[in-house]
Symmetry: none
Subunit: 236 residues, 2 copies
DNA sequence: CTATTTTAGTTGTCAGACAGGTTGTCAAGG
DNA sequence: CCTTGACAACCTGTCTGACAACTAAAATAG
């Protein structure tokens, strides 16, 4: 049953042969956007491979977003673009930093609201723990990682993987490039620490009390204050 | 008023359950970079799934570059991380569709609010034009592109390129995969058209009025209604 | 101690089967 | 005419069991 291996073919796994075949089929343009591609059984027959190999190839194409499979119906070409969301590129200017900051604000305020609706007691305990760790580290130096971890702990409570991933990536990204704005400034580090403690505390309290609106505005205030701190140091 | 529960739903495919399990295992940090993950047989036993499902999950992780497998040896974590925000990959289940929908809601409501603060008269004219085009096309058939264009017109007014790009990508993505939910509705297409017309009208009016809060809640209502329409099979 | 062989464990692939969902057909009834 | 409902054919998702190809570590022979 197995295909006579013209030994040069054996450099690719069976699954990869199938992958290349389908990919070429797609990119040759023989299929319109959204069209159905041959069924797994059909490919199996055409390629002389087992369904497992064919399915492995399709799984890869699915993960790459080129193909979409619907049970009972078939596998279809994805219409339009290959689609990434947005790339986290290097930040080179203050306006760009602000753009990301707005992006973050949009996600985090909604996240806080959702967290207030869905957080378990364990979630809230984790937030408090993260906050405590952050303050402890902040007492002896910078603590970007811990700050990101705190925001991530909130995102976890939403039970939404996409939001969680985005928050984690964004928090890291914005924090990492914060040096584009002049951070060191008007405020003593002790002062900053105290403000962060208060603001984070308000966020967690609002979530603990299951108050979505309060959580949303607490986050909003926190991030807007952070932005103001960032900018007015650069401004004056 | 209770939100649709996204967390405990058993509607994840088996392969996706496995995917999420392994992904969480990876990201929990219990594994060093380059370390070996549990064998397929082990995962099979832990999750109570068949090897086929486990392999499908691993295939996806391989395609995403998080894992690489060596025959005879095992599957290993890849070292180093891609610095993307979040990838718009295949949507395979209703809960996943809802996750993206929530993501979109977070961005779009903030976008509407910013648009209300910043939109020029030209921006608003463009929104109205996009809306008109959408309704015209909707009269003769589906008009996903035009719908996405409308939402993008709003995003443009924020003068934030990151938000604009993300909105465009997300609107396309969610719309494109909408078939995962139950699209066929209790509602006639004429009814749907009218509702969309009204809801979109409210959004533009709020922005034209320069009323951020009203714009935010109009978008919120629009998207939540859209989601309800999408999921409608379970509803009422 | 070194070199070789054995052995247990792991991924890749094959085969067949069934479950659960979709789509087009077609006849009955308005 | 066309709508409606049942139905059959088809498709993907998943399970089961098996074997082949390969690796790495243990066991063994020198």
């Amino acid at each position: 049953m197995k295909p006579v291996s013209t030994a040069s073919n054996e450099r690719f796994s069976r699954a990869e042969q199938a992958y290349r075949y389908v990919l070429e089929f797609i990119e040759s343009g023989r299929l319109a956007a959204g069209a159905r591609l041959p069924s797994e059984a059909e490919l199996e027959a055409r390629l002389g491979l087992s369904r497992a190999s064919v399915r492995e190839a399709l799984a890869r194409l699915r993960a790459e977003g080129r193909v979409n499979s619907r049970r009972g119906a078939g596998s279809f070409l994805t219409q339009g673009r290959p689609a990434e969301l947005v790339r986290l590129s290097t930040i080179t200017s203050v306006p760009e930093l602000i753009e990301w900051h707005e992006f973050r604000l949009a996600l985090e305020s909604e996240v806080a609201s959702l967290a207030a609706e869905r957080a378990t007691d364990e979630d809230i305990a984790r937030m408090r723990a993260a906050q405590e760790l952050l303050m402890k580290r902040l007492a002896v130096g910078p603590a970007s990682r811990e700050d990101a971890a705190f925001h991530r702990a909130i995102a976890t409570a939403t039970r939404n993987r996409k939001l969680e991933d985005a928050i984690a990536a964004l928090a890291n990204h914005v924090i990492e490039w914060a040096h584009v704005g002049q951070v060191k400034g008007v405020m003593s580090s002790a002062e900053r620490r105290e403000i962060i403690d208060i603001e984070h505390g308000e966020i967690v309290d609002a979530i603990a009390e299951r108050n979505p609106e309060r959580a949303r505005s607490a986050v909003r205030r926190h991030l807007l204050n952070g932005r103001a701190r960032l900018l007015n140091a650069a401004g004056s």
